[in-house]
């Protein structure tokens, strides 16, 4: 686990780089203790359901750079996610008052003969055609299982094309089989941006990088008050903006699962300070985060003022919500860092979090700083979570658990999971915008949606009455971790 090496053509996967895992069953405290001691072991499942891959997550970050295009060097099926990201791209353009533009994405359509004779020529033709059609300022070439196994030298091809076309043509190595942890795809995207786009700073600016998906712009006013300017990256940036993210004063993370590779690399290479506290979710978590911002941006006094103002504004309302939510139980399923955020928020609101199924776990991030561990912080502030399960989107385990636990509320932060709550008649909430729950106001935002969701039983109870269940009765009677091997802490729900 050395420092980040931007000379490598592909990013080292999280399993190797961070020791990240996808299987664990025990308590949150045990997980954190093992992780910090470096003794965490992954366990594999004998039965598994389809997950997500690197390529989709790399594409997620590359597909909305406003003047770049993406060429996917793959069979046509890998391009199945083009439209979904194009849809997001366009919806978010509307929100930002940008003109409606279609995402320009191309597939090289690798076919059977290409797996025998190679597809280099095809890749060159596609990149040239993409250039001709769109005149972009950069072209990213994402790889696939097929291009990886047949051994295409995408890096060399893109180098040559860069020279030929006079714009950066950048390879992004994100073969689906490379990593069990699909968030490695984010790292792959950032690696390619850092390696080939980002330039050394010309000067330092008062900009602060907000590494995010495409969430709402909640930092504008806040940073303005502190004398800084928010710069939301990577989606909706331009190539020219990305070239100088090195000039920013600091980088803020919305979701460390997304962007700590980027944050750590910018600090290591260009001295852009990474805000290392876990993102601001929950009151105490927000206090901690605010104080670090104060330090990093040298605005400690002003931050104390804001904390005081916000406490006065938010805490009385929070008390009302706590009263309403008293005694309610919840179950969480989500990606790692954002899952920790949701858990913090629920417990801040006084809900009893009966358990969580979280998609993976990074023991420590690239900055190797223990204070960045959001789960450790949740355990510190609110105490242990007894049933903490690391489970990479395995719906069968989730259904089994929900069927036993029957919480008053399920919160999911990934498509395809909510229906299992609803089918069992459990009010279920999914909030897409990571920024929605951020900071002091975020706690209130979430609280109001939770109260509304728990109150709204009509739809789920009717759906539960009429739903089918593709899982066997046998399975629902088994221990939920029957297929999870190599774990000593199996405890029945």
């Amino acid at each position: 686990m050395g420092k980040i090496d931007l000379k490598e053509s592909s990013v080292t996967i999280r399993e190797t780089r961070l020791g990240s895992i996808t299987g664990f069953n025990g308590s949150a405290k045990e997980l954190v203790t093992c992780a910090h001691a470096g003794t965490l072991k992954d366990c594999s499942r004998k039965f598994s359901q389809c997950m997500g891959c690197n390529a989709g997550h790399a594409f997620c970050q590359l597909s909305m750079i406003r003047d770049a295009v993406v060429v996917n060097h793959a069979p046509i099926g890998c391009a199945g996610d083009f439209f979904g990201f194009n849809f997001t791209y366009r919806v978010e353009q509307m929100k930002r008052n940008l003109p409606s533009t279609i995402g320009r994405y191309f597939s090289t359509c690798i076919e059977e003969k290409d797996t025998v004779f190679g597809a280099a020529k095809k890749l060159e033709d596609t990149v040239r055609e993409a250039y001709k059609r769109t005149k972009p300022n950069a072209i990213f070439v994402t790889t696939s299982c097929a291009s990886g196994i047949i051994g295409e030298d995408v890096d060399a091809i893109t180098e040559d094309l860069s020279k030929e076309l006079g714009i950066p043509v950048i390879s992004c190595s994100c073969e689906g089989f490379r990593s069990k942890i699909w968030t490695t795809g984010f790292d792959a995207a950032y690696h390619s941006i850092l390696r080939k786009l980002v330039k050394p700073p010309r000067k330092k600016t008062n900009k602060v990088n907000i590494a995010n998906f495409w969430g709402s712009h909640i930092f504008d006013e806040f940073l303005k008050r502190l004398g800084y300017e928010a710069q939301y990256i990577v989606p909706f940036s331009t190539v020219a903006e990305l070239e100088y993210i090195s000039e920013a004063t600091a980088t803020i993370h919305i979701c460390p699962s997304l962007s700590t590779y980027l944050g750590a690399a910018l600090e290591q290479e260009y001295g852009v300070k990474e805000v290392k506290s876990p993102p601001a979710y929950g009151i105490e978590g927000t206090d901690i985060w605010m104080r670090e911002i104060g330090k990093v941006l040298d605005r400690e006094e002003e931050i104390e003022k804001i904390i005081k103002e916000e406490h006065e504004r938010v805490l009385p309302k929070l008390a009302e919500y706590r009263e309403k939510l008293k005694g309610k139980t919840a179950y969480v399923t989500a990606g790692a860092a954002h899952g920790h955020a949701i858990i913090a928020m629920l417990r801040e609101l006084g809900l009893n979090v009966q358990g969580a199924a979280i998609f993976h776990h990074d023991p420590l991030y690239d900055n190797k700083d223990k204070t960045s561990d959001a789960l450790a912080q949740v355990v510190n502030i609110y105490g242990d979570i007894k049933h903490y399960n690391v489970c990479n989107k395995q719906a069968y385990e989730l259904v089994n658990i929900l069927n036993r636990v029957k919480p008053d509320l399920m919160i999911a932060r990934h498509g395809g999971m909510t229906m299992w709550g609803a089918k069992l008649g459990i009010p279920t909430l999914l909030i897409g915008d990571e920024q929605f729950g951020f900071g002091y106001q975020g706690v209130l935002n979430y609280a109001s949606r939770i109260v509304e969701t728990i109150d709204n039983k009509e739809f789920v109870s009717n759906l539960a009455k009429h739903s089918t269940m593709p899982y066997t009765k046998w399975w629902l009677d088994q221990d939920p971790f029957t297929f999870l091997g190599g774990n000593t802490n199996v405890e029945n729900y």
């Binding site: 004998k46 039965f47 598994s48 359901q49 389809c50 997950m51 997500g52 891959c53 690197n54 390529a55 989709g56 793959a74 069979p75 046509i76 099926g77 890998c78 391009a79 199945g80 996610d81 083009f82 439209f83 979904g84 194009n86 849809f87 279609i102 320009r104 994405y105 191309f106 597939s107 359509c109 690798i110 076919e111 059977e112 797996t115 095809k122 033709d125 596609t126 055609e129 993409a130 059609r133 299982c145 097929a146 196994i149 689906g176 089989f177 490379r178 069990k180 699909w182 989107k393 719906a395 069968y396 395809g416 999971m417 593709p470 899982y471 066997t472 009765k473 046998w474 399975w475 297929f483």
Partner: protein
């Protein structure tokens, strides 16, 4: 020039996972990379269904499996699937990783088949073909490896037909379309194995495939491989209607073709057609004044960016029943060479008086550039996909989303096939037209 695709409108060979999902209580088991299923679902899988989407078992290939092979892992996942997933039919489908590395999926699966487990395997590595083609490959594999075991000696059942009309999920309206096609065929006295979706009796129905008196293919080319296969295997003859029948003219023609070729009771066929046409034209007559009088503009020309079956079906319908004239038609389904001539011929004779120009091109991005260059003299209707919104806006054209990706529409039982589908198409087209006025 290589074949490249901007704006994909179909999936790879593994896309046939949706063919399995469309079978009642059928479940695919993927021996593939971890992201394949998700990517397929996101393009052609609106709605998870019974055991699609995130329920689909998958070996989630890793680097180790690519280096050392993944047969053991596949065995584990199959074992688990039988225990955990409550299904009637399990279909193992391979992805690129397994097919390039050369895992022997056949020998893994055969073990279960020998124990009479309801399981089938097919090599569907993404690079091998697309989902229009592999739909047939998968159906044929189910017939050979599963259905055939239950072949009884009762022989041909008079009046029983198997219908292959559309590729489920690739056709976003497959459910509604199949429902209507079953309804009209029952109307002329046939017993229909529709095989997919709610109107099918699931795997019990599949078991009677060999007993059919004949098969019906209502599609330009996808599905013909199944009918050919059944002809070779069980000597079942088939009737081929070369596009999706939309509206009264096409549906009546379809029913008469089936009736005549298979010598069905003519009176019964004509009686049903008469009743259906009366209903259909009652509505058309009712709205004829609107179509003739509406002064603020209705589309007078159409372009389609669709698969062959829909392209022909809609072209004939729009011209002959609504009087909208064909512009150039673009077929984006990677039609195999051997079928192109017949399709072009159909466009040559699109009506008694007219022919239409057609181009085969999978790269819809370049199709859009071509359409934008066309002189825009009057209001156009575009039959395309979610990708075509800006194109429609730029041309001030109306857009009906017929092809995947359909993201801007939510599809339940909407279908455009048959008499009812034709009416629905008219409602949907003019709904969009009228909606442009504030």
């Amino acid at each position: 020039m290589s074949k490249i695709i901007e704006q994909p409108r179909f999936s790879c060979a593994l896309g046939a996972q949706q063919t399995v999902v469309a079978i009642k209580r059928g479940v695919p088991i993927l021996h593939s990379g971890p992201g394949c299923s998700n990517k397929i679902s996101s393009l052609i899988g609106q709605g998870e269904g019974y055991a699609g989407g995130n329920t689909i078992p998958c070996t989630n290939a890793t680097e180790t499996d690519v280096v050392f092979g993944g047969e053991k892992k596949l065995k584990d996942v199959i074992d688990g699937a039988f225990k955990v997933i409550d299904a009637d039919l399990y279909v193992v489908l391979t992805g690129c990783t397994s097919d390039i590395v050369g895992d022997d999926v056949g020998s893994v699966t055969t073990e279960y088949q020998e124990k009479d487990k309801p399981i089938v395997y097919v090599e569907t590595g993404g690079f091998k073909s697309n989902n229009y083609v592999s739909h047939s490959t998968v159906v044929n594999a189910i017939i050979d490896q599963y259905v055939d075991k239950f072949k009884n000696n009762e022989g041909v059942k008079k009046g029983l037909v198997n219908v292959f009309a559309t590729v489920p999920y690739q056709d976003p309206y497959w459910s509604g379309n199949l429902e209507e096609i079953k309804r009209v065929l029952e109307g002329i006295g046939l017993e229909v194995n529709i095989l997919f979706g709610n109107e099918s009796k699931g795997i019990e129905e599949w078991k009677t495939i060999p007993n059919a008196e004949f098969n019906i293919v209502a599609s330009s080319w996808a599905g013909l491989d199944i009918a050919e296969h059944l002809k070779n295997k069980y000597k079942t003859p088939y009737v081929h209607f070369p596009y999706l029948p939309i509206g009264a003219i096409a549906t009546s023609k379809f029913l008469r073709q089936v009736g005549e070729l298979r010598h069905l009771d003519k009176a019964k066929v004509e009686d049903f057609i008469k009743k259906e046409e009366e209903k259909f034209y009652f509505h058309i007559e009712k709205t004829a004044d609107f179509m003739l009088e509406f002064r603020y503009g209705l589309p007078r020309r159409f372009y389609s960016i669709l698969d062959a079956s829909y392209s022909l079906g809609f072209s004939k319908f729009l011209l002959n029943e609504l009087g909208i004239l064909p512009g150039k038609q673009f077929i984006v389904d990677d039609t195999p060479e051997q079928y192109k001539e017949a399709i072009i011929k159909e466009f040559d004779n699109i009506s008694e008086f007219r022919s239409a120009e057609v181009e085969f091109n999978v790269d819809a991005g370049s199709v859009q550039i071509e359409i934008e260059k066309e002189p825009q003299e009057n209001r156009s209707l575009i039959l395309g996909s979610g990708w075509d919104r800006d194109l429609a806006t730029n041309l001030n054209a109306d857009l009906l989303i017929v092809s995947v990706p359909v993201t801007y529409r939510l599809v339940l039982n909407c279908g455009y096939a048959g008499y009812n589908g034709g009416l629905r198409a008219i409602e949907d087209i003019y709904d969009r037209v009228l909606n442009t006025y504030r």
